[in-house]
């Protein structure tokens, strides 16, 4: 699939989101639960701000020394019987996995927990190689059956409600029972349990890799990742190159931040750390383990003003806090990474051409920045993106450019500024009725489609103040 989803233009995607009342209802209710969970979890800790500072320091330190920790990680993985592959591009990563699948003569691949494989389009690559790919996490499985892209980075099927999921199961898998979540989950479990023993290859993502020990850590609530990593003989973990922590000590901090910020849990049901291949006296685990470390544009972010975007631990707290996301849903962003972090990250990884509208899909209210457990200044990154889009890429609308040039002149010439505020009422007169503008011209058109706009005052503040001074002088 790749990072980009769909070919519809931004405005159409946004409108489709707004018009989809089912999705909006589902998103709004999920957002409400996640938000209160996060706030409660933060409150429980008592010193949440100290935790955030620590999280930021850990991520900053790791990014500043990323080459060192990746080197250490790869040495440790190899020492424990694994193979490490550094993929510069999505194509290189996919080709490597395809090669392993070919060597293993793999027919069936089970997967768990991975956004980065969505980003590089691994499923399609494996299918092209003749493999059947089964997503084993419930949300991902639903989307796979529906041929729908994810709309959230922690709960990918957030945009669907239980009625829609029942329908998908009925249409694609012959499900006949109710839309009770318990029954739906039981059906999914029963179906998926057949796939695990048949799989030749297990593919997972990696929440964090621990450099000092070469362990790959998976943070899950469903436990499927344990099946994927222990039943097939071969396990391939695919990770973005930034998903590394120095030691177990830092892992503890970032995992605590992740689970609390994501869904308000102290810890998730399963936290799995996998270190190397199965040893002689061990009863499970893969015989063959590969770690694919994906760059795909990440190293270009290092050393730039956007470096802190790589601190992201994919908790989605920013997405859950974002009021824009609530009203348009994840698919509107046209990227597998939606919401504020998606609007920051997607143009960095995939360029501005297809994603130049994303940095504007924010009111800059900074709810995202406030929610981020590792203190990424998301709203500041969005402003910086906007600067690059207009000043370096020259992608701003010509009309806006002229308007802003006019603004600069206006705001730096007090006489012009004063004259305009004085004349504003007269200028707006043709559109004014009862001190309001109900159908405005130019830039006001969009605003007045849903809101009234006030008419400029009869006498502006400046005039009032002047007259007052004069009266005082006379008195």
């Amino acid at each position: 699939m790749g990072i980009k989803i769909g070919d519809k233009p931004y405005a159409e995607r946004i409108q489709a989101g707004i018009d989809n009342s089912f999705m909006r209802q589902a998103v709004s209710s999920a957002q409400g639960r996640f938000r209160s969970g996060r706030l409660k979890a933060a409150e429980e800790l008592g010193d949440w701000e100290d935790w955030r500072t620590l999280g930021e320091e850990i991520r900053h330190h790791t990014m500043e020394n990323l080459d060192y920790y990746l080197h250490q990680l790869s040495e440790q993985v190899e020492k424990r019987g694994g193979t490490v592959f550094f993929a510069e591009t999505a194509e290189e990563a996919n080709a490597y996995v395809q090669e392993v699948a070919k060597k293993k003569q793999a027919r069936k691949v089970v997967k768990s927990k991975s956004m980065v494989t969505e980003e590089i389009g691994l499923n399609e690559a494996l299918q092209q190689s003749g493999c059947e790919v089964v997503e084993s996490d419930l949300g991902e499985w639903i989307l796979q059956l529906d041929e729908d892209p994810p709309s959230h980075i922690v709960t990918p099927a957030l945009h669907k409600n239980k009625e829609q999921i029942r329908e998908t199961f009925a249409n694609k898998k012959g499900y006949t029972k109710t839309d009770q979540p318990k029954e739906l989950a039981a059906f999914a479990r029963e179906q998926l349990r057949k796939d695990f023993p048949e799989a030749d290859l297990g593919v997972t993502g990696c929440n964090f890799a621990v450099a000092e020990s070469g362990a790959v850590t998976l943070v899950t609530n469903e436990g499927n990742a344990r099946m994927v990593t222990s039943l097939p003989d071969t396990h391939i973990a695919v990770m973005g190159m930034e998903r590394v922590v120095p030691t177990w000590e830092e892992l503890e901090v970032v995992v605590s931040l992740l689970t609390r910020a994501a869904v308000g849990q102290k810890l998730t049901s399963y936290i799995t750390a996998l270190t190397g291949t199965r040893l002689e006296d061990e009863t499970d685990g893969p015989e063959d383990f590969h770690l694919v470390i994906v760059d795909n544009g990440r190293s270009k972010i290092l050393g730039t003003e956007f470096q802190s975007a790589l601190h992201c631990i994919r908790c989605a707290a920013c997405i859950n806090a974002c009021p824009v996301y609530r009203h348009v849903g994840g698919h509107s962003y046209g990227s597998i990474y939606p919401g504020p972090i998606g609007a920051v990250l997607t143009p960095l990884l995939d360029g501005y051409e297809d994603h130049k509208d994303l940095p504007y899909a924010s009111t800059l209210c900074a709810a995202c920045t406030e929610a981020c457990p590792v203190k990424i200044p998301l709203h500041e990154h969005l402003i910086r993106h906007r600067e690059i889009i207009v000043e370096r890429e020259h992608m701003g609308a010509k009309s806006e450019e002229w308007m802003m040039k006019g603004f600069a002149k206006w705001a730096s010439t007090p006489a012009a500024y004063k004259l305009s505020t004085k004349m504003a009422r007269t200028a707006m007169k043709p559109w004014t009725k009862d001190e309001q503008i109900e159908k405005g011209p130019g830039p006001l058109k969009g605003w007045t489609e849903s809101r009234d706009f006030p008419a400029p005052a009869k006498k502006n503040f400046w005039e009032w103040y002047k007259q007052r001074e004069k009266r005082r002088g006379e008195a």
């Binding site: 209210c365 993106h385 207009v390 007090p414």
Partner: protein, 238 residues
């Protein structure tokens, strides 16, 4: 105490009454108020849209206008926050950055100035009615002014303050967002208007004219019977 007024462009043009209340409120507490004539707009519309070079022209104008002041006080959290950003935006021009720092350090949002500088928690005003307060995003999250408006409002005699559900959610204004993403902005403000409606309040109080114009415009279109007031208007009410 000498205080220079920073009357934002929206306030100057659309709601001069808010400016008048600001003046009277400050004078009630012994401030000598002046209005530097060379002030214009803080530059936020251009800055937030990515037009940094254009916004810098506005910023330099504002720095020049307020350099001679002892204190600068404005009735808008968002515009004051923009001034606080000046030194950072101008970091590549050392001299301007220093001048910006000096202005930023003495600039305050109105309620922040009353509570933090003048140390006043009760402005001795009277206002009869039930109201709900919208804490605007830039004022609370970026400028960090959360308590001051609440403390002052709680001490207003006769005012019955009702909590606004999901109060910290953005109203959808976002400056140029309301124009560029008008459809999403319209949905956001609609949700906010519903929450205001749920409180049953007669008045909506806020500290930023942009947000108040947005919410007020929506409620007027909806024919909602809620009157919009800037906090200066309530605090100056006798």
């Amino acid at each position: 105490m000498k205080v220079s007024l920073f009357i934002t462009c929206l306030c100057d043009t659309f709601t001069p009454d808010v400016g008048k209340d600001t003046v009277q409120l400050l004078e009630r507490f012994g401030c000598q108020v002046d209005f530097p004539e060379n002030q214009t707009c803080c530059g936020q519309p251009a800055f937030n849209s990515g037009y940094k070079q254009e916004s810098i022209k506005a910023m330099k104008q504002m720095i020049t206008a307020f350099e001679a002041s002892d204190y600068v006080v404005g009735p808008s959290g968002s515009c004051v926050q923009m001034i606080k950003e000046y030194p950072h935006v101008l970091k590549d021009e050392l001299e301007w950055s220093e001048r910006a720092r000096a202005v930023a350090d003495k600039t305050y949002e109105l309620t922040q100035f009353l509570v933090e500088v003048l140390q006043i928690e009760d402005v001795k005003s009277t206002f009869q009615g039930t109201a709900t307060y919208h804490p605007s995003c830039h004022m609370t999250r970026l400028l960090g002014v959360k308590d001051a408006p609440r403390i002052l409002l709680e001490n207003v005699e006769g005012l019955n303050l009702i909590e606004l559900p999901m109060k910290e959610d953005c109203c959808g204004f976002g400056g140029t967002f309301a124009v560029k993403n008008a459809a999403v902005s319209g949905q956001m403000v609609e949700e906010k208007a519903q929450h205001i409606d749920e409180t049953g309040a007669e008045y909506l109080i806020g500290g930023d004219m942009g947000c108040l114009m947005n919410m007020g415009g929506c409620m007027r279109r909806n024919k909602q019977d809620v009157q919009v007031l800037h906090i200066a208007q309530v605090l100056n009410s006798q």
